[in-house]
Amino acid sequence: MADNDKENAAAYWKANVRLITWSLVVWALVSYGFGILLRPLVSGIPVGGTDLGFWFAQQGSIITFILIIFHYAWRLNKLDKEFGVEE
């Protein structure tokens, strides 16, 4: 039983870390990527008088951050129940 609990906790943690990793990839892509380093690559895409990179730097990244957090909370709360580790 105790060993099962331990394995279960390890599997839950692994799933959580995977979810965090993917969320951080998106987090970095919209801000450091489109907003800063990759801006020259997306500068050909016009958005309201400027380019996509400017939009991501001033608005798009913030909106994406909100979506990332709510998505993470929703997915992880579901994982909590799947693994039976919820409060």
Binding site: A9, Y12, W13, N16, V17, I20, S23, L24, W27, S31, Y32, G35, I36, L37, R39, P40, S43, V47, G48, G49, T50, D51, G53, F54, W55, A57, Q58, Q59, S61, I62, I63, F65, I66, I68, I69, F70, Y72, A73, L76, N77, D80, G84, V85, E86, E87
Partner: protein, 589 residues
């Protein structure tokens, strides 16, 4: 009714509200004092955290910074919001599961050492005290501007109000006043922005109007703005920056600095469940975004309005005559925040970029002998209602909003300081046998002492209010964030590693900042001139926190690997914070 009395009414009414909340929400136990009893709804906590986080700098200064800096200042927008993603996934839920009252509590227990706890307390106090100076100064400025009292009287009034709800109500009183303060500040920020967006773009939602069409010229607003500023020799508003490494590191420093700020982290200890801490971080960012998505719109529109005011016929035509300047320019000239100097003695107000050598021939041809108008960034938000010709009550609202932004952040910081003193220093390190009642008294006395210290520092600002905020973020990024994250995500990092990491992170960051900004910020003691060509690898002092954090991670890991693994019970503790199960009981320690 005069503007003075309108402002007085709005500010007075908001104060009555805060004091009413203070009377209603008195703390009866240490649990109520430190974490508001642990029963705050995640949405309520989100709103309170948004007010806790958004300081006088966010409310008063940020839009002005963006107006003058354009694309390059996107670092503030991304940096001060992206940290919540880190907080939601890497720190807040696990620290809530741990279930104690302060940030040093976790570091002290996880790294099983008095040295680690003490290092964390020192870092926390350094971070929070530097940060609180700016808030007291901000409140003083708002009082003196709108209520015509002296700066120091303003600071004393602010201190008295915070005293009323923070000393008696603790986290409980602070939480509910922060909710009220959020409502006041967001309404105050949004109303003028909506009117200005309507006037310029016909779209009532500023964040959409910014990327919409400029009604007068029929071309996109940002195109128009790029045109008029480049016509005056300034860099285009949307122009890309050359030093991408610095922009990247600066943004990263602000993000991890935000996630490592103790006064923000402890707000997540107040929600009932671990799952609530995750949701609450999302709600926090929603409430912050309401202001942060509006700020770049306010910045760009205010910049365009300013150029249009000075050059009514466009930047290619004559500037306005000094005696024709609008009333709001006269109002703010009296405060010294707008200055005009008629360098070519033609009675007109020329505003252009006289530092741009390529523009000098054009300027000379037009008979200009230097930029004649200086506008302080801070007036962009404060003068917004007057620029848009809005009624007097909107100005009263801005006054109440600016003060709310300063007070809500100050109270959160003061609680972080006082709980570190009464809980970590007095109860855990000095006298573990202290009774509940005595700890409560100790908490109230530490709060009083913290308020007095903040007031004194507000009255005698060390003359570096702007730089200290950079230091606070740099220190939080380089010290607490890595220690907390490693404490959760690694079972191998031990007390020696954590302490060495924190010390290397803090000292390297502080030294780098002091080299350029002066040792301990004493003017004239800088070792290297603070100019981009002198920065190491082009990294500005404000952007160094991210480097300090990397050093912290590397040193902590290396030292831990070379020394013994943490004891089994610590590895079990790490296991337990990783799953939400059983969090309810942990709080009653």
């Amino acid at each position: 009714m005069s503007q003075y009395w309108i402002n007085m009414m709005f500010v007075g009414a908001s104060f009555l509200l805060y004091i009413g909340i203070a009377v209603w929400a008195r703390a009866g136990s240490t649990k109520e004092f430190y974490v508001a009893g642990g029963g705050v709804h995640p949405v309520t906590n989100g709103m309170a955290t948004a007010a806790d986080w958004m300081s006088a700098a966010s409310f008063i200064s940020m839009a002005g910074l963006i107006a003058s800096g354009g694309y390059a200042t996107s670092v503030y927008l991304m940096g001060w919001t992206g940290g919540y993603v880190l907080l939601a996934m890497l720190l807040a839920p696990y620290l809530r599961k741990f279930g104690k009252f302060t940030v040093p509590d976790f570091i002290g227990d996880r790294f099983y050492s008095r040295g680690a706890r003490l290092t964390a307390v020192v870092c926390l106090i350094l971070i929070s005290v530097t940060y609180v100076i700016g808030q007291m100064a901000g409140a003083g400025v708002a009082f003196s501007r709108f209520l015509e009292v002296s700066n120091s009287a303003g600071i004393w009034i602010a201190a008295a109000i915070v005293f009323a709800y923070a000393v008696f109500g603790g986290m409980k009183g602070i939480t509910y006043t922060q909710v009220a303060q959020y409502v006041v500040l967001i309404i105050a920020y949004t109303i003028p922005a909506v009117f200005i967006a309507m006037q310029l773009t016909g779209n009532p939602i500023p964040m959409f109007g910014m990327f919409g069409t400029h009604v007068e010229s029929g071309i996109p607003l940002l195109d128009k703005l790029d045109q008029v500023v480049t016509d005056l020799g300034f860099t285009a508003y949307t122009a890309d920056v050359d030093n991408k490494l610095n922009m990247f590191l600066f943004t990263l420093s602000l993000m991890i600095g935000t996630a490592g700020l103790p006064h923000v982290i402890i707000r997540f200890f107040t929600v009932p469940k671990v799952a609530d801490a995750r949701w609450s971080a999302g709600w926090t960012l929603v409430f912050i975004a309401l202001l942060y998505l509006t700020a770049p719109a306010v910045g760009s529109m205010a910049r365009l309005n300013l150029v249009n005011t000075i050059y009514p016929e466009g930047p290619a035509a004559e500037a306005i005559r000094y005696e024709d300047r609008p009333e709001w320019v006269q109002t703010w000239e009296r405060t010294g925040l707008i200055k005009w100097e008629d360098k070519n003695a033609d009675g007109r107000v020329q505003m252009y970029n006289d530092a741009n050598a390529a523009f000098t021939p054009t300027a000379t041809e037009r008979g200009w002998t230097g930029n004649e108008l200086t506008v302080n960034n801070d007036i962009i938000v404060l003068a917004n209602p007057e620029i848009a010709n809005l009624p007097g009550w909107v100005i009263g609202l801005i006054a109440a909003g600016a003060i709310a932004a300063a007070l809500s952040t100050a109270a959160g910081l003061l609680l972080a300081i006082s709980s570190a003193i009464s809980h970590d220093l007095i109860k855990t390190l000095i006298n573990p046998k202290i009774s509940e009642k005595s700890e409560m008294l100790a908490a109230r006395l530490s709060m009083t002492a913290a308020i007095l210290l903040a007031t004194w520092l507000g009255l005698n600002p060390p003359g570096f209010a702007a730089q200290v905020v950079a230091l606070a973020f740099g220190l939080a990024a380089a010290s607490l964030f890595p220690a907390l994250m490693m404490g959760i995500f690694s079972k191998r990092v031990n007390s020696k590693g954590a302490v060495a990491g924190m010390l290397v992170g803090v000292i390297s960051t502080a030294v780098y900042i002091f080299l350029y900004l002066g040792w301990f910020f004493i003017p004239g003691t800088a070792s290297i001139p603070n100019t981009p060509d002198q920065w190491w690898m082009g990294i500005s002092p404000q952007a160094f926190g991210a480097v300090g954090a990397v050093l912290n991670f590397a040193v902590a890991y290396a030292v831990s690997m070379a020394t013994e693994a943490p004891p089994q019970e610590i590895q079990d503790l790490v296991e337990s914070v990783r799953t939400p199960k059983g969090a309810g009981v942990a709080l009653d320690h």
